[in-house]
């Protein structure tokens, strides 16, 4: 979005092939391709992804790496390329690995960063290694736009008849500086290696780890529990210094026979509460087999989130008690997926109108409509019943469910629910007619007929019991 105009910021290979280029207005693009798929640009997410990619390359390729927003990555592979059999190997590996995850990449290895930047974006070869001796020839033919100069400056230079880097290089430096300032000269020097261009490599985020070594291996459960408590104390201090709370804890026990036993505990909300963390870890301590003894214990936080102080007050209304600790305790005991909340979904189909969400999710907005009766128990799959009912839209007179004939004394309905044609073609004509019926004992049931009672295209006209009312 630039002013009032919406512009394309990026286009994939398929889009480029049909003539869509970044910088084009969205209206123009839609005129060219009516069913164009447009996604909003997310510069922050792009930058975060680039940083993640930089961290990954740091572990794999070279120790000095920096993200080059918006779309580049600088790698200083000096002295690091031999592991891949030279610079070509690095480029091949990098491009191939990125292609495996669906990212198109161009990689160039050049003696200077300026030259590599220019060749990767404007060169013909998508993966090229430039020899220091060929540097001049390699970048001389590239357009001036490759020099990382201001767009307006490139336009002005173009108007003066300067198209390529070689043209610019041939100009007297003094008059160039007088007209355009120091930028063109500096960029030329950087590209040809006459000026140094240092960059700040990124630091990978280190997981917070505390550990304790034992001169004498330990094995008694009480001892393990005691040292777990000590490690948690130490960890809580570290977390406090960093201003973060743990979302996941890994406690590993290195045994004397070189085996590692581990406990993993998850937390529903970031926390650095010693008691809570100790309780979570000690609750699982019985799963640890110390063998002949444990010589090293290590507590790591693989996932941490910022946790700031918040003000509490004992004036006014009482604080809402936090149930996160309970959720953690139960989640770690019976499995996180078994703890959930139920949220409303915008669907008329009963079984699709509910969705399980994480127990500590934010409060939800939508609610089920209060006008329609809904049963207390809903069967996972509707149970077929034998009925006798007048067509097209009368409730059954009686029905047989689980071998017992039930005579219907009162009934309410039908509530017609249509299939969700926008989800699947099979549901295009589908209809269910729901009835709330009561039998002579007072039990209330939710029955539906699969179909509208007239047209076989709307369903098989069979009757099903879907739920039980209170």
């Amino acid at each position: 979005m630039e002013g009032q105009r919406r512009l394309l910021t990026a286009a994939n290979a398929a889009a480029r092939a049909i003539g869509l280029v970044p910088g084009m207005t969205v209206a123009q693009a839609q005129a060219l391709v009516p069913d164009l798929q447009i996604l909003d640009a997310e510069p922050d997410a792009d930058r975060a992804a680039l940083e993640k990619l930089a961290c990954w390359s740091l572990r794999r390729y070279a120790p000095t790496i920096s993200p080059d927003p918006p779309d580049g990555l600088m790698l200083d592979i000096t002295g690091a390329a031999h592991a891949f059999g030279g610079p070509e190997g690095v480029l091949r590996d990098l491009v191939q690995r990125l292609a495996e995850v669906g990212t198109a990449a161009r990689a160039v290895c050049a003696p200077t960063y300026g030259a590599a930047h220019a060749l990767a974006r404007y060169g013909a070869d998508p993966a090229r290694v430039v020899d220091p001796l060929d540097l001049k020839a390699a970048i001389g033919a590239l357009p001036i736009a490759a020099l990382r100069l201001d767009v307006n400056m490139v336009l002005t230079l173009g108007r003066l008849g300067l198209e390529t880097i070689a043209d610019l290089e041939a100009m007297p430096r003094a008059s160039l500086a007088l007209r355009f300032g120091s930028a063109p000269g500096q960029r030329l020097d950087q590209a040809f290696g006459r000026a140094a261009e240092p960059f700040e490599p990124i630091q990978p985020p280190e997981p917070i780890t505390v550990e304790r070594r034992f001169a004498e291996p330990i094995g008694a459960p009480e001892t393990l529990a005691r040292y777990t408590g000590k490690l948690v104390d130490e960890l809580a201090r570290r977390l406090e210094e960093e201003g973060v709370g743990a979302r996941r804890l890994d406690l590993s026990f290195h045994r004397v026979d070189n085996r590692i036993e581990a406990i993993r505990a998850g937390l529903a909300k970031p926390s650095r509460d010693r008691r809570q963390m100790t309780r979570l870890l000690c609750a699982r301590l019985e799963t640890i087999d110390p063998g002949f003894g444990v010589e090293r214990m290590q507590l790591t936080v693989p996932a941490a989130e910022p946790l700031t102080y918040h003000m509490v007050s004992n004036l006014g209304e009482a604080p809402v008690p936090d149930v996160a600790a309970l959720v953690d305790l139960l989640g770690n005991r019976i499995g996180e997926g078994r703890l959930f909340r139920v949220a409303a979904r915008e669907s008329d189909i009963p079984e699709r109108s509910v969705a399980r969400i994480a127990p500590m999710s934010e409060s939800t907005e939508i609610r089920w409509p209060a006008a329609w009766p809904r049963p207390t128990r809903l069967f996972a799959r509707p149970e077929p019943v034998d009925t006798m009912a007048l067509l097209p839209d009368h409730p059954p007179v009686h029905f047989v469910w689980r071998g017992v004939r039930r005579r219907v004394t009162r009934a309410d309905g039908p509530e017609r629910i249509y299939g969700e044609w926008h989800l699947s073609d099979a549901e295009f004509l589908g209809v269910r007619d729901y009835f709330q019926v009561e039998d002579e004992t007072g039990a209330r049931y939710w029955l539906f007929r699969n179909g509208d009672g007239m047209d076989s295209a709307t369903g098989g006209q069979g009757w099903f019991l879907h739920g039980l009312f209170a």
């Binding site: 309970l326 019976i334 139920v342 509910v354 009766p373 809904r374 049963p375 007072g442």
Partner: protein
């Protein structure tokens, strides 16, 4: 014995007795139903918070516990705080609870693998103290287990409701076994009042208070929960004499 002025030795004696009886007498208040007919029968004028209560369904409700669950939801809709709902069969339909006034954001469900872990989650929830109420749909509830739960509920003042739900109707005879619960209820769906037009009216339940600590058993014919979790007396019964009410109740059971 009539009270005449302050008697310090009597007060201290009462305090000592209370201390000897321990947590047993520690009261966390009560939750009235808002219906005088029911509240009158309960000690303290309502359902004791900080105690364990048992609810089961009658007739077919022994296996589906639909009415029992909605009766429970109506009670919990009227307490503050989050609710932990533990179960082993996940066929509870949340929109129905929302219709009884229990907001979906307030309920955290626990789907336990077996009865043992169900009861341990139930107890853990009662011990936590930050919840408004804890529910468990349990088939088996031994004296020992219920005693633990009752003590846990007393220690925090959280109301605990065990919905007794059995796999087979025959197993429901288990409901005769004693437990440490403060009250024991049976809720049975009965035919609704006839409407002037075809249709099903407001649900009608026959609610039996089978056991009540420090109280007597009783039974009531009520109409199911409204949108705020309140029960109501049927309009055609509310203003009749006690004798005709008793007759109708017998007829309904």
């Amino acid at each position: 014995m009539t009270e005449r002025g302050p008697r310090p030795h009597l007060t201290t004696l009462r305090a000592r007795i209370a201390r000897i009886e321990g947590a047993e007498r520690r009261s966390s208040g009560t939750l009235p139903f808002g219906l005088d007919a029911i509240d009158r029968r309960l000690p303290g004028g309502g359902l004791a918070l900080g105690a364990l209560h048992e609810v089961a369904g009658g007739a077919q409700g022994a296996t589906d516990a639909a009415a029992a669950a909605l009766f429970t939801a109506g009670i919990l809709a009227r307490v503050k705080g989050k609710i932990l709902w533990c179960m082993t069969q996940s066929d509870l339909f949340a929109p129905a609870l929302a219709l009884a006034g229990l907001d979906p954001d307030r309920v955290i469900y626990v789907e336990a693998r077996d009865e043992t872990s169900l009861l341990s989650c139930f107890e853990e929830g009662l011990r936590h103290g930050g919840l408004g109420g804890v529910v468990a749909e349990a088939a088996r509830l031994s004296m020992t287990a219920s005693r633990r739960l009752q003590l846990a509920a007393e220690s925090t003042g959280t109301i605990g409701i065990a919905i007794r739900r059995w796999r087979r109707t025959a197993e429901a005879s288990d409901f005769g076994q004693p437990t440490a619960a403060a009250t024991r209820w049976r809720v049975t769906s009965v035919p609704t009042a006839p409407l002037p037009v075809p249709g099903v009216g407001r649900p009608r339940w026959f609610v039996e208070l089978i056991r009540c600590r420090a109280g007597e058993s009783a039974d009531f014919l009520v109409e199911g929960c409204d949108a705020t979790g309140h029960l109501a007396l049927p309009a055609d019964l509310a203003d009749r004499s006690a004798a005709s009410q008793a007759w109708l109740q017998r007829a309904a059971s």
